[in-house]
């Protein structure tokens, strides 16, 4: 089959899967109405809250109100969401069986699911096609352009639905289709027992379709279409358990915050077209140099606004942690491995534009560096396992922007690929933990899970080693490449911040591992007996993802700053040249090559050392001496410790400020306008009506129908006329 046909089929297959699931999915699943099984789950949830759980060891500041503040979602276990969020609220007689629920009561009729078969099968086929295309592009050294049809044609504004697959798209295709397919498989087990089973697969397929449009489109508008469409899918999947108010709210928040970025992105696209009369990547990049720098800078910053929203960078990062309300497979696929990378992809794709706009590059780098440390500082204190991973994702994406901003394009994409694999693995692992631990998400109520969840434990440790940047694992190579580039290109301060973030990353990652898998079980005793390893369909994807998590770095990243991936992407980033290299830096001095026994090797050593140090500190504080974390917070000078801790736990109050300014402020403004509408504008309209009626009513009194009155009027008029005649005319 010609590659062009495969490229056209790659997005078409999940689209077909979506249509299939929507049309017939509901008929393929059989979920017995009575299979709720909340009762016994609620019981042990209660037991947990009643039982005095000594978790003080894991909290820096032991105070009662802290506990309430730090675990807003305690008990809102992911796959129990609707059992807890809705079952208690909707009276039984109102529950018509169309809602969702958690697992099935033992002994009750088992639900039967078949709606996953076609969507998952099609995505599997898509994965095969993607790998063929990947090979053809990367190893065959080809680029493909496929035009499907003319979408919009208005005057000079002509946009085709067409695809461009080059090295960059191929790299994303690798991540998107691999993680996408594995998440489908994983979801078969994870969503078992859920009433929305078919709906879930429909959304997943629609997401795959949208994401493929996003990465394979050959012009900015197609990118925008995929961009918005993944936003829709993200909305639908975050709010998947819609009965839970927090999930519904998080879905809305994600969409709206993303739209704030899209405002800029959309304007950026328009500005490109207005200046160049084309949106095709190739034509735009070829002509961008003809514009003046101010225009290019504005375009780049507008595009970057979209990236900040989609990739959850400060100040638009607030939606991603809330997005953890969605089922965990969604977090793994959309909110870790694929969709959130779209912003990085956008900036990388538009590298010829950014390369011409130093101010925009600096902006990208600064936002990246700041978000990296900001998000890591929040991840340090989170107790919800998914929130730790969410802030970690924000922080890691920030690394990528940091890399893009300093012109280390390939390093950014390298980190994108390796992060996609290992963070997907970690999220799926956390889902397995949540599943096995009976829906618990709060790490303070976990512990010792390695005794019962061997495979989950092993694979998560592999993922964590990658995230912590321990040698031979993927994250080590990709992260250190970013740090080394920062150093070599002359960004000393950024490099130091990056090192600190690397240390924090290793710490919070292994804090998570130790709290979850080590120590003793801190949940209710009854729950421990139910802790179990997850189903094979869930464990298998973990094992499979462990392979790239170990190998991607070794295969693509050796030698550092010159691995295979650099060759694959050379064409894409060729135009950007030496953008981002500071004068006086090592690169500017002409030294490009990595030397193991030189600065390069030293940087590697430092990177590895901070990773190991972070793990060691986590081991010290969370395994050996559980009380020392609290002591450390107490020892921070000036008594700032508790305050700093609280600020971190509360995400530095950014959400609260937005809530106050935008949500409250917006409603206030809107209400004021509504008052204006009703009282002033409509008041004037009604006033005009009132005036006409009043004048008319007044004049009506003159029409009495009595001859005497009219006679008097005539006489008076005559008198006036005579008077006027007598006084004026004469």
């Amino acid at each position: 089959m010609p590659i062009e046909l495969l490229i056209a089929l790659i997005p078409a297959l999940p689209l077909a899967g979506f249509l299939f699931a929507v049309l017939v999915g509901a008929r393929l699943d059989h979920v017995p109405i009575h299979g709720h099984g909340h009762a016994d789950r609620d019981k042990h949830t209660d037991a947990r809250h009643a039982g005095a759980v000594d978790d003080s060891a894991f909290r820096g500041v032991p105070s009662e109100e802290e506990q309430a503040a730090t675990s807003p979602h305690a008990g809102h276990a992911d796959d129990l969401a609707n059992a807890e969020g809705a079952a208690g609220v909707i009276p039984a007689e109102l529950n018509d069986g169309l809602g969702q629920s958690g697992h099935v009561t033992p002994g009750a009729e088992r639900p039967r699911y078949r709606s996953w078969i076609v969507p998952t099968g099609l995505v599997g086929l898509m994965w095969i096609f993607s790998m063929i295309v990947f090979a053809a592009v990367i190893f065959g050294g080809n680029e493909y352009e496929v035009t499907i049809y003319e979408w919009i044609a208005s005057g000079d504004f002509v946009i085709n639905i067409s695809f461009l697959v080059d090295g960059l798209t191929a790299m994303l295709l690798l991540v998107v289709s691999t993680v996408g397919f594995l998440v489908h498989v994983y979801s078969i087990g994870y969503m078992d027992g859920d009433r929305g089973f078919w709906r879930f697969f429909a959304y997943l397929n629609l997401f795959m379709f949208s994401m493929l449009l996003l990465i394979a489109g050959d012009n900015f508008l197609m990118l925008y279409v995929g961009w918005e469409a993944v936003g829709l899918c993200s909305y639908a999947l975050i709010g998947f358990w819609y009965k839970k108010p927090s999930a519904a709210g998080a879905a809305k928040k994600a969409f709206i915050v993303n739209r704030v970025g899209d405002l800029g992105f959309g304007l950026g696209i328009m500005m490109i077209w207005v200046n160049l009369e084309t949106l095709s990547f190739r034509e735009v990049f070829a002509q961008i140099g003809t514009l003046d720098e101010a225009t290019i800078t504005v375009i780049a910053l507008l595009l970057f606004a979209g990236a900040v929203g989609k990739s959850a960078q400060f100040p638009l990062h607030v939606w991603l942690p809330d997005a953890m309300e969605g089922p965990t497979p969604v977090s793994a696929l959309i909110h870790a491995a694929t969709m959130v990378n779209a912003g990085v992809y956008l900036v990388a794709r538009a590298n010829p534009i950014f390369a011409e706009a130093p101010v925009a590059m600096w902006t990208v780098a600064i936002i990246g560096v700041f978000t990296a440390i900001f998000a890591a500082a929040i991840a340090l204190t989170q107790n919800d396992i998914k929130k730790v991973l969410a802030y970690s994702t924000v922080s890691q994406l920030a690394y990528m922007f940091f890399a893009l901003g300093i012109g280390a394009w390939t390093a950014a994409i390298f980190h994108l690929v390796s992060h996609g694999f290992f963070k997907g693995l970690l999220f799926m692992g956390s889902g397995s933990v949540i599943h096995g631990a009976g829906g618990e998400q709060d790490m303070r109520f976990m512990g010792n899970l390695r005794a019962r969840m061997r495979w989950t434990y092993l694979t998560m440790v592999v993922g964590s080693l990658a995230l912590a940047g321990i040698p031979i694992f993927a994250g080590f190579f990709s992260k250190d490449e970013i740090l080394a580039e920062a150093f070599n290109r002359g960004y000393g301060v950024f490099y130091l911040v990056g090192i600190v973030v690397a240390f924090m990353t290793a710490f919070y990652t292994f804090r998570m591992i130790f709290m979850t898998f080590w120590g003793t079980w801190r949940g209710p005793k009854a729950a421990w007996d139910r802790v179990h390893e997850s189903a094979p369909t869930m464990v298998a994807p973990l094992l499979i993802l462990s392979v790239p998590t170990v190998l991607v770095g070794l295969l693509l990243g050796i030698p550092p700053e010159g691995g295979l991936i650099h060759g694959w992407l050379e064409e894409v980033f060729h135009d950007a040249g030496e953008a981002g290299v500071l004068p006086g830096s090592i690169v500017a001095g002409g030294h490009h090559d990595f030397e193991l026994f030189g600065i390069g090797g030293l940087l590697l050593l430092v990177g590895a050392a901070v990773g190991v140090a972070g793990i060691a500190l986590a081991y010290r504080w969370y395994v050996q001496r559980p009380e020392s974390a609290g002591r450390f917070v107490g020892r921070i000078p000036l008594g700032l410790g508790p305050g700093m801790y609280r600020a971190s736990v509360n995400k530095y109050y950014v959400d609260d400020i937005y809530q106050l300014v935008w949500s409250r402020g917006g409603v206030l403004l809107s209400n004021a306008l509504w008052w204006f509408d009703a009282k002033v504008i409509d008041g004037a309209v009604n006033g005009a009506g009132w005036l006409a009626r009043t004048i008319g009513g007044g004049l009506r009194r003159t029409q009495t129908g009595r001859v005497e009155n009219y006679g008097l009027g005539i006489a008076a008029g005559l008198a006036v006329v005579l008077l006027v005649y007598a006084t004026v005319v004469r």
Binding site: I90, D96, W151, I152, S154, Y242, V274
Partner: protein
């Protein structure tokens, strides 16, 4: 088909239906409904023949031209260009939808209702095909009074207030328009031409600046009230809230488009200097409408009012696109009219579905409906996102083209209009969350056991709109082709040689 008066047949087949209704006993609701449906279906089927319009051919096709009032040069002239074709098809389609949807909700004075609706369709269709200004005016007024009765008789509790406001407000505009029409005609005749109301003859005549200014303002008021433009919009929420569902579908779907059509057909080509001069002011008002409508929609407690204010915002795009005078803006404006007709019509229909069951539209009274009526929720979701302007659905194409056109005019105007991508997401998704997610309100629980999902009639009425919302988003080519030549003509008229507008009037 040569010689067959296709346009007359499209316009007047509803009248024939109404005449037949006269001979059917009013108690036989079934027969009345089928006859009305038959009449609009004939009109719809005939309008499909307009697809034979040749975009590359002469400007107005399917022409009919008969003498009417010879003494004043008034003729019965009909004809369509691409702009008319798409609007006529939108009208006949939405008429079918409205008639089908009324099947169950309308149970009182059924015969009168259908007769009125049929007459309404005649007026609307006539406006889009008339090429004689007097004939246009007659159709314009014909489209007004049936709606007066539809709201006033079959409407909600405040119907009299709402309908009187609607009629007086629009009448003020249309009477001014009549004056403007006469002024234009007389000015044209006074310079030695024969007295004529023919659109084609009057167009292209160089009217004096002062006449243009005054006539423009008069036309503007008529059309701007209809659109409605801020700040002339306050009749709209009241009319929508009180109108029966089918009335709202027609009101939002077609009647508002009469205003947009009026600008495109009359204000711009007849009075190009004035159009250029007034454009900045109108663009300003349009941007205000876009943002203001969205913000006010956000805090509406009544579902229908929310959709009504969202219309103010969406129609602001039509005005914005119209007055930036470039291809993208104008095509986007027309596309936005079509898309708004479909999505907002569908949203009003969907609001009607729940209203028929609970007789209430308070958003605070809803909640959790997704669990009980999932298909209804899915359809509502589809049109919610079509209305937000999600790419791949109809709303995106028009909105994007308009903003793009605005960007060519001025980047800041585009940026201001673009804010709507946030605001529309806020008001629509917040509404969607409160209606469909979470758990039912205490009020809704009373209705919970008796709530039903969409029935067959509702599906039949909604299905074509759902299909179009997707098709127009994925494949806008045919419609854009159809309107591209008329748009070029408008631009030519406005940007023609020597037309630079006149100086400020103050």
């Amino acid at each position: 088909m040569d010689g067959f008066p296709l346009l007359s047949a499209i316009v007047f087949s509803p009248v024939i239906g109404a005449l037949i209704l006269l001979f059917v006993p009013g108690t036989n609701h079934r027969a009345v409904r089928w006859i009305a449906l038959g009449a609009v279906l004939v009109s719809f089927a005939l309008s499909l023949l307009l697809l034979g319009y040749d975009p590359a051919g002469s400007e107005f096709q399917f022409r009919e031209d008969l003498p009417w009032i010879d003494a004043f040069g008034i003729r019965y002239t009909l004809g369509v260009d691409g702009l008319s074709v798409v609007l006529v098809m939108l009208t006949t389609l939405l008429s079918v939808v409205a008639i089908v949807y009324s099947w169950e909700p309308i149970q009182t004075k059924v015969k009168a209702y259908y007769a009125t609706m049929l007459l309404l369709m005649v007026g609307m269709l006539g406006v889009f095909v008339a090429l004689d200004l007097f004939l246009f005016y007659v159709f314009w007024e014909v489209s007004l009074f049936p709606m007066y009765f539809v709201i006033g008789i079959w409407g909600g509790p405040q119907r009299i207030y709402a309908t009187v406001k609607f009629v007086l407000y629009t009448l003020v505009g249309s009477l001014l328009m009549l004056v403007a029409i006469l002024a234009v005609v007389i000015a044209h005749a006074a310079s030695g031409n024969s007295l004529t109301f023919s659109y084609e003859a009057l167009r292209g005549f160089a009217y004096t600046d002062s006449l243009q200014a005054l006539a423009f303002v008069a036309f503007f008021l008529a059309f701007a009230i209809k659109v409605p433009m801020w700040p002339l919009h306050t009749w709209l929420p009241d009319a929508h809230v009180e109108a029966p569902t089918a009335g709202s579908i027609i009101l939002a779907g077609v009647l508002l488009k009469l205003g947009g059509y009026g600008f495109l057909r009359y204000n711009l080509p007849l009075l190009p200097d004035a159009a250029i001069s007034f454009a900045p002011i109108i663009i300003g008002l349009a941007v205000i409408a876009i943002i203001y409508g969205g913000l006010v929609a956000m805090v509406q407690p009544d579902l229908k009012k929310l959709v009504a204010y969202s219309s103010v915002s969406h129609m602001g795009f039509v005005m914005l696109g119209t007055f930036v005078f470039n291809e993208q803006g104008l095509q986007g404006a027309i596309y936005q009219m079509i898309s708004h007709g479909i999505t907002t019509g569908a949203l009003f229909l969907l609001v009607g579905v729940i209203y028929e069951q609970t007789h209430d539209r308070q958003i605070a009274h809803m909640g959790g409906l997704n669990a009980r009526v999932p298909r209804y929720a899915a359809m509502f979701g589809l049109f919610t996102f079509a209305s937000i302007g999600l790419p791949g659905l109809s709303g995106f194409v028009g909105e994007f083209l308009v903003i793009l056109g605005a960007f060519r005019y001025n980047g800041l105007v585009a940026a201001a209009a673009m804010v709507v991508v946030i605001i529309s997401a806020v008001y629509m998704l917040w509404m969607f969350q409160r209606v469909f997610f979470s758990v039912p309100s205490d009020w809704m629980r009373k209705w919970w056991p008796s709530l039903r999902d969409m029935n067959r009639t509702e599906w039949i009425a909604l299905a074509p709109l759902a299909v179009l919302a997707v098709v127009l988003g994925v494949y806008p080519g045919p419609v854009l082709d159809m309107i591209s030549v008329p748009v070029d003509r408008i631009i030519e008229a406005v940007n023609g040689a020597g037309l630079t507008g006149f100086g400020p009037l103050w």
